[in-house]
């Protein structure tokens, strides 16, 4: 095996060396990409061009895309996410989404589903369903992420041999239900009786906002030991000690999985910590960017420099450019003119909103290249720096 990967690696290195020398491109695929796109629009050398089979409405503000991934796509584990890339007005836009269907379902049908909440101010999520209505094309990355049940060995293609053995508590908020739906569908389709209890506490702000309600109810009937609680926050309030005791009083011995909007995750972790739950028992995944409001969303925004692990907060009353903020934090990003001309300070923004003081425009929430020297953070920003 290792010899094999080694020869593959060497071959890859040699090929890319030749490609660089002959074409000035990173690979021959990249060199030919524009020509290939002539025949396969939106084809990308580094992505898996896949077709959208259906767009299904789930609720007022939520829909699912049913996608048939390209043959080279390697499959996934329940709970993982993918990066979805589409072309919008000439620009590639990418967003991360959890896969909401199970590996078992993918095995049987060749399809996956991702469920997307429409962001009011977003430029992508409201636009996608129309753009993809009649058999659109999207690009997928391989599946990524570690938010999977600890002993789930269910990579698609391999049937789960070890059923869930530890008791589990799942806490979902809003669209954070998607990875859990994948896990629960997997359990139910495999027809496995879970040997230890699995309990789901699912929060939404009104009865209409519970997604996959029927499916979840069905799983509950099919899988002994599985309990699903739909908790309407309007009536019953947010996750609290009282809820824990009411819906899952043996939480302390369980593996706990949390997925939802960031404030909810922070809050849930705090409650659990106060209950002396062990850190290692708690698994969580932040789901999607926060809805953005440009004004009045607090006085400060925070900037996370991802690669160096540094974080700073900035006061909105005296805006500072991201370049200054980075330099204040002892980072040394490449820069030149500092007036937005030379493009040397370009950096990839992973998420968050920035204001470009030169073009006087706000960015979108997703991943894109920005000029540090003329960009000011408006909402919490994550930078690849």
């Amino acid at each position: 095996m290792s010899i094999n990967t080694n020869t593959l690696d060497i071959r890859h290195t040699i090929w890319s060396w030749i490609a660089r020398n002959l074409t000035n491109n990173v690979s021959f695929k990249a060199y030919f990409e524009p020509l290939i796109q002539l025949f396969f629009p939106q084809w990308r050398a580094d992505r898996f061009r896949s077709s959208v089979i259906d767009v299904r409405r789930e609720s007022d503000d939520m829909y699912s895309l049913v996608i048939k991934p390209n043959k080279q796509w390697k499959g996934f584990r329940a709970g993982q996410y993918i990066e979805l890339t589409v072309e919008k007005e000439g620009a590639w836009v990418s967003r991360f989404f959890s896969i909401s269907s199970s590996p078992r379902y993918f095995n049987d049908s060749g399809l996956i589903e991702i469920s997307i909440r429409i962001q009011e101010n977003g430029q992508i999520t409201p636009w996608l369903p129309q753009a993809l209505k009649a058999g659109g094309v999207v690009n997928l990355s391989q599946a990524e992420g570690e938010f999977c049940l600890a002993d789930s060995t269910t990579i698609s293609g391999v049937t789960a041999s070890t059923p869930t053995t530890k008791p589990i508590l799942m806490i979902a908020g809003g669209s954070g239900i998607t990875p859990f739906r994948s896990m629960l569908q997997q359990i139910s389709l495999n027809g496995l009786a879970v040997s230890k209890p699995v309990s789901l506490m699912y929060y939404a702000r009104s009865p209409e906002h519970f997604l996959f309600k029927e499916a979840l109810n069905t799983y509950q009937q099919q899988v002994p030991n599985l309990t699903v609680n739909f908790i309407d926050t309007n009536e019953l309030g947010f996750f609290s000690d009282a809820h824990l005791l009411k819906y899952c009083d043996d939480f302390a011995i369980r593996d706990i999985y949390i997925c939802g909007p960031s404030p909810m995750i922070m809050h849930a972790r705090k409650v659990l910590q106060n209950q002396n739950v062990n850190q290692e028992q708690i698994h969580y995944e932040f789901f999607g960017p926060e809805p953005v409001s440009l004004e009045g969303s607090g006085q400060a925004s925070s900037v996370l420099f991802q690669q160096s692990g540094k974080q700073v907060t900035t006061n909105k009353d005296e805006p500072k450019t991201l370049l200054t903020l980075a330099e204040d934090a002892q980072l040394k990003p490449l820069s030149g003119c500092r007036i937005g001309v030379c493009h040397q300070c370009i950096c990839q923004k992973k998420s968050g909103v920035v204001y470009n003081s030169k073009t006087k425009t706000y960015s979108d929430t997703g991943q894109e290249e920005i000029q540090l020297c003329v960009s000011v953070p408006v909402a919490d920003v994550v930078l690849a720096l």
Partner: protein, 367 residues
């Protein structure tokens, strides 16, 4: 500021209004940028790929008839010109960064050219575009080889600088590659005391050799060997294609910055510069030439050097349209706008090179 004409700089209130008008042109144009531009640049890249591959194949077919060889040279030169001008230069200015396409991206792009693109981004995008025509700051003014204004004193070697110019033109690619290395005195001359270089001198040297070496390997070793029996014709064809590209790019660039009316500036001119003053300097430091669309495309729209200097990161295809609006704004504020036919502009370049081959009258008197 020194200039051939004697327009005085408008006052700051005027320049403020002037800047607002130009900003408006920019944002009106940016509002239109989208799918059409993406399709356009992808199509140009397609044409480039097809001509490059076609050109290399045609060179080999030279054994059937020399006509094929000639076609091959022309196609290859054409592909290189497209790659360097309409694609490379513009992409590396970040004009297509909004596409989020890793292969059409300002930071990653590498061109079919001896100059390492990172080095070029540093001194061209930063130095030349920020300090346009400021003597002592913009090393592109005369490239340290030519005397093109009275700001530098005359030296005997300037007497035959027209030959230096022709030489530089033919080897322009190497001149561009060597430019930063020369400016940093990597191989010759007294080492600079202060350098803003973000990489070490060694890294700069390595980048220089590795990029130039790669280009050399490709055009003068790999492809000639690949077509072994045709080794010499292919080698000669590649060489000629490179020279043709060099002559063309050099000519375009000289027409954009060294025509008769182009102004020069001193460091004081750019201290605490307002946006309006910056725009004003960019306009006075550049010149356009007119022509048909194909001429604009072949010159990477540097035929609209003025617009390029005002808006370096706006997709260049829009410059022709913007040019009309910019010219109207200049007229409104009585600011000179330097344009003319390609032939006329080129003649004034030659005139300028010749004119400063000789000492100025004051200098001549004191000699």
């Amino acid at each position: 500021m020194s200039a051939a004409s004697n327009n005085a700089r408008p006052d700051s209130a005027t320049l403020e209004l002037f800047a607002q008008d130009l900003d408006q042109i920019r944002s009106n144009t940016m509002a239109k940028v989208g799918q059409k531009d993406a399709n356009y640049i992808r199509n140009v890249i397609r044409v480039q790929r097809v001509s490059e591959i076609g050109g290399r194949v045609a060179l080999v077919l030279g054994f059937i008839s020399p006509v094929w060889w000639v076609v091959g040279v022309l196609l290859l030169a054409f592909a290189k010109i497209l790659d360097n001008m309409e694609i490379g230069h513009n992409v590396m200015h970040g004009q297509y960064d909004w596409m989020n396409d890793p292969n059409i991206n300002g930071r990653n792009f590498e061109w079919d050219h001896a100059a390492d693109s990172d080095s070029w981004r540093r001194y061209h995008n930063h130095e030349h575009h920020t300090y346009t025509n400021i003597i002592g700051k913009d090393r592109d003014f005369g490239y340290g080889l030519l005397r093109l204004s009275d700001d530098t004193s005359w030296r005997p070697k300037n007497r035959w600088q027209i030959l230096t110019y022709l030489n530089l033109s033919a080897m322009f690619e190497l001149g561009v590659a060597y430019h930063e290395v020369a400016g940093e005195r990597i191989f010759m001359g007294k080492r600079r005391k202060t350098s803003s270089l973000p990489i070490t001198r060694k890294e700069l040297r390595n980048a220089f050799f590795s990029k130039a070496g790669r280009q050399f390997f490709k055009d003068y070793v790999f492809f000639p060997l690949l077509c072994f029996p045709m080794f010499l014709p292919v080698l000669a064809g590649n060489f000629l294609a490179n020279i043709l590209r060099n002559l063309w790019t050099s000519t375009v660039i000289f027409c954009g910055h060294f025509t008769e009316e182009v102004h020069t500036f001193s460091i004081e001119d750019c201290e605490n510069e307002t946006q309006g003053e910056w725009y004003y300097r960019q306009i006075l430091g550049s010149s356009n030439f007119e022509g048909r669309r194909w001429l604009h495309i072949l010159s990477g729209h540097l035929s609209c050097q003025i617009e390029h200097h005002l808006f370096p990161d706006v997709p260049a295809y829009h410059y022709v349209e913007m040019g009309k609006q910019v010219q109207a704004v200049c007229k409104k504020y009585d600011i000179p706008y330097n344009t003319g036919s390609f032939g006329k502009q080129y003649l004034t370049v030659v005139k300028r090179v010749l004119k400063y081959s000789f000492p100025s009258k004051i200098e001549a008197a004191s000699v």
